[in-house]
């Protein structure tokens, strides 16, 4: 059907509702918006008419096939209209409609309106009623991959819901890996990776594997916020969620080597700051000095060279450590 504009769709074959014999019995209801007088919609006479009839049908509570068709017209004109979606659900239930047909319809609508809360929510309600998620992975994959928006928040949410509710984790890591390969900076994909891996459980082996995976990604693109957040996030899962950064010597070596080689990505430096800060607070007061000085030096570099826009934050980090260490000394 793929129409590209309301004018086109409502152009050639369109017959005004006021001229349809099977709608003769309905008195359309004009819009009453409250604070401002009725706005005359120069944009489209058809738009106004469809919604006047929609209002009339909702007011009368009619739940017939023609009411369903009317909601289809109304939603084509304004797919964000939440009330029409709700009414459509009531009509579908009353008509005991074929919900698989509804899924097909929704696939098309989502294809054209993938950034819209209402269409995704409606889809979810239908899938829940059918208790059949067999199309949901393909639907969301379509939205994320083929539609070219791999960060679509609604699509990811829907996908997570389907996977969690119907236990569809099996192939998800492969899907995530594909997306990360296509765009390593796709934060949504990294988030999804954490979602899957968390479900699998953070065993030492899995942690090891994930750290290797992430370090390989960082080797390719070093200045990648998502990868660094993921790296630290996974590291922290060790030791039942209490792991210190320095309990992963291979990661520490990896990062320090990058630093030695001249890399100054703010995320790399932030990692080292966290690492040395943590260590400084753990060791005896006499040993903390050298580590603390590393932190102050790196914070100074961030504030003056590598991340100047956030200099106040880096100044805070240095001062905060100073305060914590002097408190420790006093004990």
């Amino acid at each position: 059907m793929g129409d590209s504009s309301d004018e086109e769709y409502l152009g050639t074959d369109w017959l005004a509702y006021s001229e349809r014999s099977d709608w003769k019995d309905v008195e359309p209801l004009a819009q009453d918006d409250g604070p401002n007088p009725v706005v005359s919609i120069a944009y489209s006479q058809k738009f106004r008419e469809v919604f006047d009839y929609m209002r009339a049908i909702i007011a009368s509570g009619e739940k017939s096939q023609r009411a369903l068709d009317l909601t289809t017209d109304a939603l084509r004109l304004n797919p964000a209209n939440y009330t029409v979606w709700q009414y459509r659900r009531d009509v579908l239930r009353e008509l005991k409609a074929d919900l698989y047909e509804e899924l097909d319809y929704l696939t098309e609508v989502i294809g054209q309106n993938s950034k819209n809360y209402q269409v995704w929510h409606h889809r979810r309600v239908i899938v829940e009623i059918l208790n059949d998620p067999s199309n949901e992975l393909e639907l969301t994959e379509n939205a994320l991959v083929n539609e070219g928006d791999a960060k679509n928040y609604h699509a990811w949410q829907h996908r997570q819901w389907a996977i969690r509710s119907f236990n569809l984790y099996d192939d998800e890591l492969g899907f995530v890996d594909r997306l990360i390969c296509e765009d390593q900076r796709n934060n949504s994909a990294w988030n999804q990776r954490f979602f899957v891996v968390k479900h699998l459980g953070f065993t030492p082996e899995l942690i090891q594997r994930e750290l290797s995976y992430t370090m390989n990604r960082i080797r390719i693109i070093k200045n990648n916020e998502s990868a660094w957040n993921y790296l630290v996030g996974v590291m922290r899962q060790g030791d039942s969620g209490n792991a210190q950064l320095n309990s992963y010597p291979e990661v520490v070596d990896f990062v320090e080597e990058l630093y030695q080689a001249g890399n100054r990505s703010p995320y790399l430096l932030a990692f080292l700051i966290d690492l040395y800060q943590e260590q400084a607070l753990q060791v005896k007061a006499s040993d903390s000095d050298q580590l603390a000085r590393k932190v102050y030096g790196l914070c100074e570099d961030m504030a003056t060279k590598h991340d100047v826009i956030r200099r106040k934050y880096w100044q805070y980090v240095a001062n905060h450590l100073k305060n914590q260490l002097s408190t420790v000394e006093q004990k």
Binding site: G34, P35, A80, N81, Y117, Q157, G233, R310, Y316, H320
Partner: protein, 346 residues
């Protein structure tokens, strides 16, 4: 708080469309914005106004709040707005619809209450019915449905506690502990941020809702403020604008959500204020007034409120103070005797 449907398509060959043009300007086009908001919906050819009927209540809240921050609230008709709000209260459920003929929802219930607080007219509606509506939406796991259709989202947790706080009915209504537990379950261990549901990606708009939630329930100690504060100040791009998640484009509405969150957390100074102000001001439409999501696009009332709100938080002259937790003029929050928790600057 419909974060995505309000992004306008790029206004390709539009007038004064590039950020460098003097049209964008570094000065706040104060009276242009007043005019834009006042006339919102009055134009003949207002397609956008009709398309957004389903969120009219929020539209009115955005407009009244923006005008009040600019000291121009009297330009709107108090009486007819209050009458409109009253007509939207559902007699069965107690909740508010966005407009007559629509069903009630938590989002529009909060907007309705915010409008009535602005006009000091809470007694005009059935407040107990609103409380019942909100309480009835809480689920066993502490989360909140938006309405009977069962969508769960941390936005709704915020709407619930904000509505009840403004009504002065937080005591012995919802189960606050469970509500807190649910919001905490939406915290992401990788970055300290929050998504819409457990497992969902951290997103600045949802972080605002969760930080606001903790502010209203006086549980800010449950946040890793330094970690989250860092993630939030990382939203600032070299252009000075703020995005909502890593590697996304800046948008004026994040000037509100990120800034308000940082303000509540006592870390507003972690953002470069001068650069952000420049970005926000570059999103003004100097012909029609109003703010758009980013430089060169079409303005709308949603981004206008958040542009003005962001500028107020940054201390721009000529604007009243705005409360970061409730996104309402501070003098109104003071008048109501409400004191959301706010952390001091470290």
């Amino acid at each position: 708080m419909d974060f995505t449907t309000f992004v306008k398509p790029s206004n390709g060959g539009g007038d004064g469309g590039d950020g460098d043009a003097d049209g964008g300007g570094q000065k706040l086009q104060f009276w242009k914005h007043v005019e834009y908001i006042e006339n919102h919906g009055k134009q003949e050819d207002d397609y956008e106004y009709c398309m957004t009927e389903f969120l009219r209540m929020s539209g009115i809240y955005w407009g009244t709040t923006a005008l009040d921050i600019m000291g121009q609230l009297e330009r709107l008709e108090r009486k007819s707005i209050i009458e409109f709000v009253k007509r939207c209260q559902c007699p069965n459920t107690g909740g508010f619809a966005p407009c007559e003929g629509h069903d009630p929802h938590l989002l529009y219930t909060l907007s309705a209450i915010q409008i009535l607080c602005t006009y000091d007219a809470l007694e005009e509606i059935d407040r107990e019915a609103v409380v019942r509506f909100v309480v009835g939406l809480q689920q066993p796991d502490g989360s909140f449905f938006g309405d009977k259709w069962g969508e769960v989202d941390t936005r709704f947790s915020f709407c619930a506690v904000a509505s009840l706080t403004l009504l002065g009915r937080m005591e012995e209504t919802i189960d606050v502990e469970k509500a807190v537990k649910f919001v905490l379950s939406c915290c992401n261990q990788t970055d300290g941020g929050f998504g819409s549901k457990p497992g969902a990606e951290s997103h600045a708009g949802l972080i605002y809702c969760c930080v606001g939630f903790f502010s209203l329930t006086h549980r800010m100690h449950l946040l890793d403020v330094d970690k989250l504060g860092w993630w939030l100040c990382e939203r600032q791009l070299p252009s000075g604008g703020l995005n909502g998640r890593p590697e996304k484009l800046p948008d004026v509405c994040y000037s509100w959500w990120v800034l308000a969150s940082l303000t509540i957390m006592g870390r507003l100074h972690w953002i470069s204020s001068e650069k952000l102000q420049q970005f926000i001001l570059s999103c003004q439409d100097t012909e029609t007034g109003g703010f758009s999501d980013r430089t060169g696009n079409m303005p709308d009332i949603f981004h206008t409120l958040f542009g003005i709100g962001g500028l107020s938080l940054l201390g721009h002259s000529g604007l009243k103070a705005i409360n970061p937790t409730l996104c309402m003029p501070q003098y109104i929050i003071d008048r109501l005797g409400i004191k959301p928790q706010r952390l001091p600057r470290p």
